[in-house]
């Protein structure tokens, strides 16, 4: 009799051992919500094979670029661990896919790159020059140059942190139509967010040659 009682009491645990490890839930187990917080710019020297940060100019105008750090803050985080008799630590392998979900509370709607000095004959001070820059993207070996606005508002940033939250999203924008003459230049980048906020940052005065 005592044996039967023990067996009945242990039955849920035995069933849990049998099915617990194979239970893969499609609903996200971890949900994160973030917001864009601030940006930071660094000057790039792209004379070599890869762009490198260089805070001391002068810069070759044909090989100039900016590294953008887009900082984000985690504002909500929930872990939907299922209720179980058995801790998952006892599982050998569940083989479940990562169902974490990372989403933005706000999105980037516009990106403007503005020259704060006269750039060339058709771009005076305070003119937008976003179209003269591009972001270099690569997918399965295929390289493309993407417009900055398209890169920031499109799926690229979302895909870059699809499986884990990145506090600092970094990407490089390169100048592809440099001014005819060298001189002192200064740029400003503005990210307009869907909640109306504008994140902006200016470069220091830089010497392009």
């Amino acid at each position: 009799m005592a044996r039967k009682i023990v067996l009945i009491l242990l039955a849920p645990l035995i069933v849990e051992i049998a099915i617990g490890c194979c239970h893969c839930d499609d609903t996200p187990s971890v949900t994160s919500l973030y917001t864009y917080k601030s940006i930071q710019l660094e000057n790039l020297d792209n004379r070599g094979a890869e762009p490198v940060v260089s805070e001391s100019g002068p810069y070759l105008k044909e090989a100039y670029g900016l590294r953008v750090h887009l900082y984000r803050d985690l504002i909500a985080h929930s872990s939907g661990a299922p209720v179980s008799f058995f801790p998952s630590a006892y599982a050998f392998s569940c083989g479940c896919e990562n169902n974490s979900s990372i989403s933005a509370r706000d999105s980037i709607t516009y990106v403007h790159i503005i020259t704060l000095r006269d750039f060339d004959a058709s771009h005076q001070a305070d003119a937008e020059i976003s179209d003269l820059f591009r972001v270099q993207t690569e997918s399965y070996g295929t390289q493309e140059l993407t417009r900055v606005g398209e890169y920031a508002t499109g799926p690229y940033l979302r895909y870059a942190s699809a499986d884990r939250f990145l506090r600092d999203m970094t990407f490089d924008i390169l100048l592809f139509a440099p001014p005819a003459a060298g001189g002192v230049y200064k740029f400003k980048i503005q990210f307009t967010l869907s909640d109306g906020r504008v994140l902006e940052q200016e470069t220091s005065e830089i010497q392009l040659m």
């Binding site: 070599g48 094979a49 044909e62 070996g141 139509a177």
Partner: protein, 258 residues
């Protein structure tokens, strides 16, 4: 190769013990297995990067997986065979090296070849006439065959990042066809020594000649301005190789039905 020689040495003493050999010219069906290597006499020229995307290796080792002869008269017969070849070149790295040679002074080069980046499949098939001279032990079989050589023509892409500038240019080499199968002329001679009644060891020496028109499109695209220029590369390529192989000949059917 070494194992075949060991087998031949092992069979020679046995040939003394089984000295009952059939009469010359009595076999009707023969089949043989041969492996060896190609040696180039006239190789494909390599003038541009697209040449390195052509998956033909004139130094390839080969294994003749099928080769049979049917003798319909005392001296004449039909001979057919197919050999798979094992190219030793590395298409992707050779392609990249050539791009470095062409563009490396002014650009940083990255590149890839479509697919797995290897040579892919290479093979040669033949069908022709065989003539035979036989003595009790020595077999001499001159042959003349026509057939085909099959190899792949890969496509590849290079990205040229200009030194001291942001400029990036994509250069795409697109093959018109995925593979080529040119007609091939294959004169050859097979020299054999009978070690047992139905077994002979042999040396195959053959020449193989083919000419192939290979077409590529070279597209150059500036990734910023999207300016595209296209150039057609028509490459007439001739190859002449000497192949040498070692193998074993099996007589599988004789005229008296044995």
């Amino acid at each position: 190769m070494r194992s075949l020689l060991v087998l031949c040495v092992a069979l020679l003493p046995m040939s003394q013990a089984y000295a009952q050999l059939s009469k010359p010219y009595s076999s009707r069906w023969q089949t043989r297995i041969v492996f060896g290597t190609d040696m180039p006499i006239k190789n494909f020229p390599h003038g541009n990067a697209a040449d390195y995307l052509v998956g033909y290796d004139s130094h390839a080792g080969y294994l003749q997986i099928f080769n049979s002869s049917l003798f319909f008269s005392r001296h004449w017969g039909l001979d057919a065979g197919y050999q798979i070849q094992m190219p030793s070149t590395e298409t992707e790295s050779d392609f990249h090296r050539q791009l470095e040679t062409e563009y490396g002074d002014a650009y940083y080069v990255t590149s890839f070849v479509d697919g797995d980046g290897g040579n892919g499949h290479q093979g040669r098939g033949n069908l022709g006439l065989i003539y035979r001279f036989e003595s009790k032990r020595l077999l001499v079989y001159p042959k003349f065959s026509i057939g085909f050589t099959n190899f792949e023509t890969n496509s590849g892409t290079a990205y040229l990042k200009e030194k001291n500038a942001n400029t990036i240019t994509q250069v795409r080499y697109e093959a018109k066809q995925y593979s080529r199968t040119p007609f091939t002329f294959i004169p050859s001679v097979s020299l054999g020594y009978r070690v047992r009644n139905r077994i002979a060891v042999n040396v195959d020496i053959a020449g193989a000649y083919f000419k192939s028109n290979i077409a590529y499109t070279k597209q150059t695209r500036d990734l910023y301005s999207e300016v595209i220029s296209t150039e057609k590369l028509s490459m007439k390529r001739n190859a002449l190789v000497l192949t040498v192989g070692l193998g074993i000949v099996f007589t599988i059917y004789e005229k008296d039905g044995k």
